[in-house]
Amino acid sequence: MTAVTEARHTAKSPPGRGRPRRGARRGAWFLVLPALLPILVLSVGPLLHGVLLAFTDAQSGRTEPTRWIGGLNFTDLARDTLFWESFRIGLVWAVGVTVPQFLLALGLALLLNQDLRLRWLARALAIVPWAMPEVVVGIMWRLVYNPDAGILNETLRDLGLGDGRDWLSGLGTALPAVIVVGVWAGMPQTTVALLAGLQNTPRELHEAAALDGAGAWRRFRTVTWPALRPVALAITALNFIWNVNAFALVYVLTNGGPGGRTRLPMLFAYEEAFRYGQFGYAAAMGCVMVAVISVLLALFLAGRLKGGDGA
């Protein structure tokens, strides 16, 4: 996010702004320390420690000392078909949530940027999923999906669309059902961010383009999208990362079931660490996740940046 917009800032800011004054550096340390210390001790430290743990046989509640076992956890992990299955599910989930979420949110943001009645209601309602605890979102959708007392099956019956089913327990339906909830939970936030980005686009540009006879699609491609790109890029990357790291929603909805069909990597690692006490092994999973996220994001950002230069 920052890297992308860094250049713009330096290019645009008036000269002399933000230039360090004399003595500022010495004062800066004093101001930075209160935040830096907890970050180092409780964030950077644990992260590095976590990477080290991945190379040990650390277990919870064991009395013998922890031993360094090199890459053994990783070779075990490479052979762990359950892990790769959860990995695959995690990717399907993350893409399955992020992409529809972005497309729907983009459409909605464009819609809500129009002069429509009831627009205020859509904006007001959008706050709710955003502010709701994920646990509550999960509980709420369990009530909706409930095979007997849920409203989804009742509605389907009323519409004559079959007898309904147990969505969250069906082998084929569980993952799609969970993905729908993921989209529901994150879409408002994405919409609001994109809407804010849209409102930063100068209106005159649109009017000028319209006067030149550009159609809606052309105006979108030449005026709206270039202005929206930084925000869209940032929110999509963040959404993707958040989705890869998702836990609470699916923990509440299915706890990984049925038969592991919705066992996201985080659920798998959580069980490995805090149910079976395999700290080292779970840390190795964390490392693999970091590596994959980094590579995917790098590819994504590189591709998007290149695409943008050509436009």
Partner: protein, 277 residues
């Protein structure tokens, strides 16, 4: 003219679909919370309870220590919000005003920290807190929440600092005010709304947080609301739907109120952070 009308119709249809998608699950939660057991067991559930009752709310409080959990959540969230803002404000100031290597590293960290899988951090954190005897304690959870809230707090606050014109600070310096004096009496008051918004945002994130609370808190009397809520689900997913819905509804209210107050400021803060940092 005809194309215009049909475009309008399409727009309103899309808007309506969005509103229904957003609102229906919420309405269903509400409806379930107020239904007596007889209607909950019905094979043809209805949107509006025929015989609305508050019994589910009473039962929810009887089944689980909801008040205690709400108090725990309140303490953890308020503690995290206050501490996070106290330590983040000075650093955000430095990040916004001085483009030093440190400030740049801090900004980079804000972005990178979003990408951690929590599991990689939580295991060592669990071990550290265990050594400090802070496992299963609210102060331990507050510490974790502070660090967890810091990236966004720094991001938002730095955006607010940038919105304060440097000219004002320079003017104060010319008038002979010292550096600290300038910060406290000139910049501080201008930042106050931003600081409040950031604190409330940290409050909501901590109030809603589940994963760290699940791992770090074991005694039921110490657990926060989201963790206690999952106890309603019971083993094998068999749940008492009425009290579950009632408790879930209550747990949402505080963050909803807080969020409604600050929503505009958050979008503003995030956006200035994103575009200007």
């Amino acid at each position: 003219m005809r194309t215009r009308t049909s475009a309008r119709v399409g727009q309103y249809a899309a808007l309506l679909a969005y509103l229904l998608f957003l609102a229906l699950p919420l309405l269903w939660l509400l409806s379930t919370a107020f239904k007596p057991p007889r209607e909950l067991g019905s094979l043809h559930p209805a949107w509006i309870p025929e015989d609305p009752t508050l019994a589910n709310f009473r039962q929810a409080f009887e089944e689980q220590p909801l008040l205690r959990a709400a108090l725990n959540s309140l303490l953890a969230a308020a503690g995290a919000a206050v501490v996070a803002v106290l330590v983040a404000t000075p650093m955000a100031y430095v990040m916004a005003r001085h483009r030093t290597r440190l400030a740049r590293a801090a900004t980079g960290w804000v972005v990178v920290s979003q990408a951690f899988p929590f599991v990689l951090v939580i295991i060592p954190l669990f071990l550290v807190l265990k050594n400090l005897r802070l496992i299963d304690s609210l102060p331990g959870l507050v510490l974790v929440y502070v660090v967890w809230a810091l990236p966004f707090a720094l991001w938002m606050l730095a955006g607010y600092v940038r919105a304060v014109p440097t000219e004002l600070e320079e003017a104060a310096a010319v008038d002979g005010a010292g550096r600290l004096r300038t910060l406290v009496s000139v910049t501080g008051p201008l930042l106050a709304p931003g600081i409040v918004a950031t604190a409330l945002f940290a409050f909501v994130t901590a109030w809603n947080e589940f994963f760290f609370a699940l791992v770090l808190l074991k005694t039921p009397e110490k657990q926060t609301l989201p963790v206690i809520l999952t106890h309603f689900l019971g083993a094998e997913g068999v749940a008492d739907l009425g009290p579950l819905a009632a408790a879930a509804f209550l747990a949402t209210l505080p963050s909803l109120v807080v969020f409604a107050l600050i929503q505009r400021r958050i979008t503003g803060g995030l956006l200035t952070g994103a575009v200007k940092s």
